[in-house]
Symmetry: C2
Subunit: 271 residues, 2 copies
Amino acid sequence: MTTRELIASIRRKQSFLCVGLDVDLNRIPLHLLEEEDPIFAFNKAIIDATHDLAVAYKPNIAFYEAYGVKGWEALRKTMNYLNAHHPGIFTIADAKRGDIGNTSSMYARAFFEDLGFDSVTVAPYMGRDSVEPFLAFKDRHTILLALTSNSGAFDFQTRKLEGRELYKEVLETSKKWNNSSNLMYVVGATKAEYLEDIRRIIPDSFLLVPGVGAQGGSLEEVCKYGMTPDVGLLVNSARAIIYASKDRDFAAQARKAAGELQQQMEHILNR
Amino acid sequence: MTTRELIASIRRKQSFLCVGLDVDLNRIPLHLLEEEDPIFAFNKAIIDATHDLAVAYKPNIAFYEAYGVKGWEALRKTMNYLNAHHPGIFTIADAKRGDIGNTSSMYARAFFEDLGFDSVTVAPYMGRDSVEPFLAFKDRHTILLALTSNSGAFDFQTRKLEGRELYKEVLETSKKWNNSSNLMYVVGATKAEYLEDIRRIIPDSFLLVPGVGAQGGSLEEVCKYGMTPDVGLLVNSARAIIYASKDRDFAAQARKAAGELQQQMEHILNR
């Protein structure tokens, strides 16, 4: 999907909501455990209930790998379902990968070609040649970790690398990489006050913003400092939506939680 | 596996060789493609031919994910084979994972519990709470990226964070994390001259050293600066061993290549 198509989808749906599909079998409704593929059954129900409210879905790959081959099969079925029934929805493999060049190429093939994702999250620690193999894919997006939502972000990311915070050096340096127009960045909602500085370095890039809701970040703050004329934001919510209820009404409750966020977003977009 | 058992295995085999199982279907002998599971067939042949010469095997997970469910199945079969037939061999999931706490826990379960690896490689960018879920597993090891073998290592790792190179800050900071005795570190052989400084910060920790062979690193240099009284090194070689031949004699040629490295290691250990 091109960035232009993503922006059009945001305008049409009046939403920049990304729903995190982080499926934990201990947290889904009990009756789904009787299904042949509980993870896919859960995802399908969530997608069916929220696809008009969300512009993106983001499975965190850890939750699938934890279930081995079955998890991987559920991930593939989820992607096939999304790409067949909702090709206009942006898909994010939250994988936080990154390795030496020929190995990153294998990861890029896995997520872009084999599974058909529009984008994948990548860690910057190994530098340019670990990221460029992802950037080489046309109309696919590489979402680089910049400033994450967790407390460990303060261990290295916010400390000064040669006079400037590491996460800013990541932003600045990555702009010089080949096909850097395919870059987006992860910036946690719990660190919204940093967004003003971030927008000075990358005024137009899309940001994937986790941490609204369960982790405590504020949608208002994120939009105040992070929004661009083309919106430039994908705000992720996972637990607050997909685990809104553990009962048979879980999909309806997920829709309700997603709808509340979408309404807030529509309000902000029309201000 | 405990560190003590790993050291005993190194002494017994007179080897600190790790064989990288980075299986690319375009590079394995053609006749194996007729097998039901070519990746596992290849790994089994390599393991059968080299298990007395190597103390560790390291599948790079990217190469398995690139083949989707089939790749994941081949990885599981490989791990089952290793754990059933060679329980004394140390296994490394070269995954370079790392995410917020509850997600890192899922990755840790995937590699330690579901697949039965002794260790997993983890990226440090997200800091303490992204790594400690891995460290919580007793007698399992977390191999933190410190100074990698690729050119991109110079983008951030070797630059100064508050006066000291980022990779040194990673080493120093990680020593304070819970269960840090379960830490090992990745240090590329292509940067052997940095090992003297590294040993001042972590005098005893085991280092996983990629980059000998195809990437140009020198075994002699690595040992000169990196070896400890308990050896403290696992030197990885992948392509030079597993792709020593693309013909029917590939396993014998892999054994020959592994044997040459083991002989050099035995020589160094007895100097």
